[in-house]
C-alpha cells in the first residue's frame, strides 16, 4: 500500500513517518508538499509532527489553510484513513476534522519522554490489530498536548466511543500520575465519528524498532496496512 506523508514547511517528523512506513514496514511512502493539490493515489495519509508554520500562533492554526488540506478533507470525507501525529493531531483539530483544542502542558514545559497509553477502541483503521485495552509504550514530545474540550463535547466523544487512546499506568488505569500534560480525561488520541480519522499526541513512528527503546508503535501502522489490503476501509482515492 501507499502512504502519503504531508510535508508542511516546519514539519520535522516527516522523515520519521516516511522511514517507518518505507524502511521498517516495507510499504510505499511519498512526501506530499503542502502546496500540492493531489495526494497522488495514496491509500492512507499521515500528517506528521513538527511545527507546521513555526506555530508562533496556535499550533497548526495556519497549516489548515495549506492547499493540500482541502484534499485531505475530501480524502477523509470519503472514508480514507488519516493519521495525525502530534502536530498533525493539532492540525486536525484546527481543521475541524476532530473536535477540541490543545493547551500548553500543565508543566508549562516541553516534555519528551516515554509514556503509556491504553488502546480503548479497536474499530479504527489504525487500531484494528490491537487487543482491546492493550497498553502501549510510546514517546511523547510536545509543549502543547494538554487536550481540552467542553464537557458536552467530552461527553459526546465518550458516548460515541471516539476516545481511542488514554494515558494510563501499566495496569491500564487512567490516573492523574499517568497523565503527562493535564489532558481532560487523560485523552491521548481521538477518532472522527466516521472512525477513519485518528489523531494522537504520542509518536508511534518513534516506537517502531527495539533499538530505539520500543516497537509498540508498529501496531498502528500494521493495523492500517491490514485494513487497506483487506479492503476494510473505503478506497478513498
Amino acid at each position: 500500500m501507499k502512504f502519503a506523508v504531508v510535508v508542511f514547511p516546519g514539519s520535522n517528523c516527516d522523515h520519521d513517518a516516511h522511514y517507518a512506513a518505507q524502511h521498517v514496514l516495507g510499504q510505499q511512502a511519498e512526501y506530499i508538499w503542502h502546496k500540492e493539490t493531489t495526494l497522488k493515489g495514496a491509500d492512507a495519509v499521515i500528517l506528521p509532527g513538527g511545527f507546521a508554520h513555526g506555530d508562533y500562533l496556535r499550533t497548526g492554526a495556519i497549516a489548515r489553510f495549506s492547499p493540500i488540506m482541502a484534499e485531505v478533507q475530501k480524502f477523509a470525507a470519503a472514508g480514507g484513513p488519516v493519521l495525525g501525529i502530534c502536530n498533525g493531531f493539532q492540525v486536525l483539530l484546527e481543521a475541524g476534522l476532530l473536535p477540541g483544542a490543545m493547551l500548553r502542558n500543565r508543566s508549562l514545559k516541553y516534555q519528551c519522554e516515554h509514556v503509556l497509553i491504553k488502546v480503548e477502541q479497536t474499530d479504527t483503521p489504525f487500531t484494528a490489530s490491537c487487543a482491546a485495552g492493550q497498553v502501549l509504550r510510546i514517546p511523547i514530545a510536545h509543549g502543547e498536548g494538554n487536550y481540552y474540550a467542553e464537557p458536552e463535547v467530552i461527553a459526546r466523544l465518550e458516548r460515541n466511543r471516539q476516545v481511542v487512546f488514554r494515558y494510563t499506568n501499566a495496569e491500564g488505569v487512567a490516573t492523574d500520575d499517568a497523565n503527562p500534560n493535564g489532558s481532560v480525561a487523560n485523552i491521548a488520541g481521538l477518532c472522527s465519528e466516521q472512525r477513519n480519522v485518528v489523531g494522537l499526541m504520542p509518536h508511534p513512528e518513534r516506537a517502531c524498532e527495539m533499538a530505539l527503546g520500543s516497537a509498540d508503535g508498529l501496531i498502528l501502522f500494521e493495523s492500517v496496512i491490514k485494513a487497506v489490503t483487506e479492503g476494510v476501509v473505503a478506497a478513498a482515492r
Binding site: P9, G54, Y110
Partner: protein, 748 residues
C-alpha cells in the same frame, strides 16, 4: 575625520590597532570601515590572543577531511560519508538574556553545520552555572534550558546528550557551549569560499535589523554591573526561519549551483563577505541598500554590523541564478542578489552605488593583529594544590557522603533539563540522554556515532595542563565506553580575560595539555571556538576547556549502554583507584574546597583502556560500561544500577590514604576520582575472556562483585559500607535538580 579615544574605546580598539588600520588602508578609515575592523579584529572573530597557541594543536589525521578554518570540521566515517561537527559558545548573550542567548547559540552552530552541506542530526551541550540556591542562577538555568529546547525542538534536531556542572565561579558568567553534528557525503561538502569573478553574491534568509550590533565586541569584554544595559546586543532567534533555510539550502546544495556559502553569525554580513573573499583570494563587492531590511533608516554601518539571525550569504555559479532563486521561492524565502565577486581581493561596500567602505579582505582576516600576550603562573596554584587532611577535620561517614554527593546537582540526573529537549526526533537516538555518551545511528549504513562533551573545570583550575589532558581523556573514554573509536574532536575554550598574564598562562598550559592528550590518543581537533573574557567584576570562571569527541561504531547493534542488564552478571572494575581526592566533587560538596592536585593520568594506559572497551564491545563481551568521573567509584556504581532497576553487590580493596590519619581511607576508596577507570559488567560465562582481553592490553581489571537484587551494596575489604535501597537512590538522584526548581512538585 578625527577618531577620538572615546570612539576607539567604544569599538574595543586600541590606539596601536587603529594605527594598523590606517597603515592597511593607507588613509584614515570611514566610520563604517572602523566598525568593520572593530568586529573583525575583536577577540571573538580574530582569535588574536589565542591563535599562536591554537596552532600547536594536532589537526590532521587519516580521517580528517576538513580541519580548522572552515565553518566546521569534517571526518571520514566510511561508506563515503563524513561527520561534520563543531562546538561553539554563546556565554555572554546567555547571561544577559538566557532564553534568546541560548536559543541563538543553538541556531548559530546548526547553521555552521548545514553551511558545509551536511544534514544536522544531533545536538549536545555543555553548560555551567552558579549554585542553584541563588534565585538569579535558577532563572538563568531555566532560561538557558528553555532556549535550547525552544530552538532545537522546533527545528527538529535532537539534543542527545551533554553535561551540566555548577560552581560559584559561574554565577555571573554562565557557560553555554553547543555542539552540533551533521552527515554529508564526501563529495557534497561545500565551503565558505567566494571565487569566479562576476559570480553573483546572494543574500538569503531573515531581514536585517538593528539587533546584535557589536555582539562580537560584547563577547570580547568582561562583564560589570552595567552588563544588563547590553541587552540590545543580544539577537532574537526564529527557528522556523532557520528550518526553512536549512531545507532550502540543502536542496540548493544538491543542485551543484553554488560556489560557496557561509552563514552570518558573529559580525554578520561583515564576517561572511570578507572571510569568503579571503578564502577564495577574491574581492566581494556588495551594495547594502539591496539587503532586505526589517527597520527603516538603517545606515551602512548598522547593516554591516547587524547580527540578526538566520541569514546566509552565497556565491552562485553564473547562469544558475534562476534555478537557485526558484528553490528558495518554494520555501517562501527570497534570495536577493546583493553584489558580485571581483578580482581585486577587496571588500567593497556600497550604499546606493556610492562606496562607503573599501578594505583588503586579508587585512580583516589573516592579517588581523596577533598577540603573544604575557603569561605568568597564577599565585593561587601552589597554595591551592596543598591538601592537608588534618585541616579538613573528621570526614563524615561514607554513607553520609554518598547521599550528599548523590544529590549534588553536578552529579545528579539532568532529567529536568533533557526532558525539555526533543531527544528522539529523526529516530536515530540509540542511547537516551543522561546515560553517558549520546549515540545516534547513521541511517542507510550499519554505523553509529557516539558523542561526548566534557571538562572538569576544578581540575583545570588546579593544574591547567593536566586538567585539560583529563578533559580529553574523559570525553574519549565516554565514547569508548559506548564501544566507539574516537576519530575526531572539537574544542570550546572558556577562560577569563587574556590581558591578565595569569589567565593567559592558564590558557596556554591548557592548550598544551589538550594537544598532548589528543596526540597520545590520536584524536585530531578539527575546529572549535575560543571564548575569553568570561569574568564578572574581575572574577574569572574556572578555566573550562570543553572537549567534544566523536566516536565511530562500525556496527550499531554492538553499542554498549551504561546500565546493568541482567541479574547475575559479573561486575568488573578496570583501572586502579588511588589516593586521589584532589579537586574531587567530594571535597567540593562535603568540605567546600577546591584543593589538591588533580588525579594523575597515564595516556598510554588510557589509550589501552579504550582498546579494551572497543574490542570488548565489538566482540559482544561487554554488557554495560560506565566511566568513573565526578563522585568517584561509588557514584558510578549507583548510576550503573539506575535505569534498569538492577542492584549490585560488590567488595573493593581499601585504598590507603597517605596523609597521616587513616580516617579518610574509606572516603578515598569510594570517592577518589582517579582517572582511567571504568565499571563494566559481563556475563559470568564471558568473565575469563574479558579478563584475558584486559590483560592482553595491560589494563588492570578486577572482579568486584555481581549484579544482584535491588540494593546498592558496597563493602570495603569485607566491611559493609553502603547498603542502600536502589529505589531511594534513584529517587534522590532523579529529583535533586527538580527540588531546586519546582519544590512543590517534588514534595508532592
Amino acid at each position: 575625520m578625527t577618531i577620538s579615544d572615546d570612539i576607539l574605546q567604544r569599538h574595543g580598539l586600541t590606539r596601536e590597532e587603529y594605527q594598523r588600520i590606517v597603515d592597511a588602508l593607507k588613509r584614515e578609515p570611514t566610520l563604517t570601515e572602523l566598525g568593520i575592523f572593530s568586529v573583525m579584529w575583536s577577540e571573538h572573530c580574530s582569535y588574536k590572543s589565542s591563535r599562536v597557541h591554537l596552532k600547536t594543536l594536532p589537526t590532521t589525521g587519516s580521517r580528517v577531511l576538513q580541519g580548522p578554518g572552515e565553518n566546521a570540521g569534517a571526518v571520514d566515517i566510511g561508506e563515503g560519508l563524513a561527520a561534520v561537527f563543531k562546538i561553539e559558545s554563546h556565554n555572554h548573550p546567555s547571561f544577559i538574556e538566557p532564553y534568546q542567548g541560548a536559543a541563538t547559540g543553538v541556531g548559530g552552530i546548526i547553521r555552521d553545520i548545514f553551511t558545509m552541506g551536511a544534514r544536522p542530526i544531533a545536538l549536545l551541550n555543555s553548560l555551567r552555572f552558579g549554585p542553584l540556591d541563588e534565585p538569579l542562577v535558577r532563572r538563568t538555568f531555566a532560561g538557558v534550558v528553555a532556549g535550547i529546547a525552544g530552538y532545537g525542538n522546533s527545528i527538529g534536531i535532537p539534543t542527545v546528550g551533554g553535561e551540566i556542572a555548577f560552581d560559584e565561579s559561574y554565577t555571573g558568567n554562565p557557560l553555554v557551549n553547543v555542539f552540533c553534528l551533521g552527515i554529508a557525503a564526501h563529495d557534497e561538502i561545500i565551503k565558505g569560499v567566494a571565487s569566479g569573478v562576476g559570480n553573483a553574491v546572494y543574500y538569503v534568509g531573515a531581514k536585517t535589523g538593528r539587533d546584535g550590533i557589536h555582539g562580537a565586541t560584547m563577547a570580547s569584554a568582561e562583564f560589570d554591573e552595567k552588563s544588563a544595559e547590553k541587552r540590545p546586543a543580544v539577537q532574537v532567534g526564529d527557528p522556523f526561519m532557520e528550518k526553512l533555510l536549512l531545507e532550502a539550502c540543502l536542496e540548493v546544495m544538491k543542485s551543484d549551483a553554488l560556489v560557496g556559502i557561509q552563514d552570518m553569525g558573529a559580525a554578520g554580513l561583515t564576517c561572511s563577505t570578507c572571510e569568503m573573499g579571503s578564502r577564495g583570494d577574491a574581492g566581494v563587492d556588495i551594495d547594502v541598500s539591496l539587503v532586505p531590511q526589517r527597520e527603516t533608516g538603517m545606515t551602512p554601518y548598522e547593516i554591516m554590523l547587524s547580527e540578526s539571525q538566520e541569514r546566509m550569504l552565497m556565491v552562485v555559479k553564473r547562469g544558475r541564478e534562476a534555478e537557485v532563486e526558484r528553490i528558495f521561492e518554494k520555501w517562501d524565502l527570497h534570495a536577493v542578489r546583493v553584489g558580485e565577486v571581483t578580482p581585486d581581493g577587496k571588500l567593497r561596500v556600497r550604499h546606493r552605488g556610492e562606496i562607503v567602505a573599501e578594505i583588503p579582505n586579508r587585512s580583516l582576516t589573516d592579517d588581523a593583529p596577533l598577540y603573544r600576550r604575557p603569561m605568568a603562573e597564577p599565585t593561587y596554584i601552589k597554595e591551592a594544590q596543598q591538601l592537608s587532611f588534618d585541616s579538613l577535620g573528621n570526614p563524615p561517614s561514607e554513607r553520609d557522603a554518598f547521599w550528599r554527593l548523590l544529590s549534588s546537582p553536578t552529579v545528579a540526573s539532568k532529567r529536568w533539563a533533557y526532558r525539555q529537549y526533543d531527544h528522539m526526533v529523526r529516530t536515530n537516538t540509540l542511547v537516551l540522554p543522561g546515560m553517558g555518551a549520546g549515540v545516534v545511528r547513521v541511517k542507510g549504513t550499519s554505523r553509529a556515532l557516539a558523542m561526548s562533551v566534557d571538562c572538569n573545570g576544578r581540575f583545570v583550575y588546579l593544574d591547567p595542563y593536566r586538567g585539560a589532558e583529563l578533559a580529553v581523556a574523559e570525553a574519549a573514554r565516554n565514547v569508548a565506553c559506548a564501544g566507539a573509536l574516537p576519530i575526531g574532536a572539537t574544542n570550546c575554550l572558556n577562560f577569563g580575560n587574556p590581558e591578565r598574564p595569569e589567565i593567559m598562562w592558564q590558557f596556554a598550559r591548557a592548550v598544551e595539555g589538550m594537544g598532548a592528550a589528543c596526540r597520545a590518543l590520536d584524536i585530531p581537533i578539527t575546529g572549535g571556538n575560543v571564548s575569553l573574557y568570561n569574568e564578572t567584576d574581575g572574577r574569572a570562571v574556572l578555566p573550562t576547556p570543553v572537549l567534544g569527541v566523536v566516536g565511530l561504531i562500525e556496527d550499531a547493534r554492538t553499542v554498549v549502554r551504561r546500565a546493568f542488564r541482567s541479574q547475575g552478571d559479573t561486575v568488573m572494575l578496570l583501572g586502579e583507584t588511588r589516593d586521589e581526592l584532589g579537586g574531587s566533587e567530594y571535597l567540593k560538596v562535603v568540605h567546600g574546597a577546591i584543593r589538591g592536585v588533580p588525579p594523575a593520568l597515564d595516556l598510554t594506559r588510557e589509550a589501552a583502556l579504550h582498546r579494551v572497551l572497543i574490542e570488548g564491545a565489538s566482540a559482544g563481551v561487554i554488557r554495560s560500561a560506565h566511566d568513573c568521573a565526578e563522585g568517584g567509584f561509588a557514584i558510578t556504581l549507583a548510576e550503573c544500577c539506575i535505569g534498569t532497576g538492577l542492584g549490585a553487590q560488590v567488595d573493593v580493596p581499601a585504598v590507603t590514604s597517605a596523609v597521616g590519619s587513616n580516617n579518610f581511607s574509606g572516603i578515598t576508596t569510594l570517592f577518589s576520582e582517579s582517572a582511567s577507570r571504568v565499571v563494566v559488567s559481563v556475563a559470568p560465562s564471558a568473565e575469563a575472556q574479558f579478563s584475558e582481553l584486559a590483560a592482553r592490553h595491560n589494563v588492570p581489571s578486577r572482579r568486584i562483585g555481581v549484579v544482584r537484587g535491588t540494593r546498592v551494596q558496597v563493602a570495603i575489604d569485607g566491611r559493609s559500607t553502603l547498603d542502600e535501597s536502589l529505589a531511594d537512590v534513584e529517587q534522590t538522584w532523579n529529583t535533586a535538580i527538580e527540588r531546586y526548581l519546582e519544590p512543590a512538585r517534588a514534595i508532592a
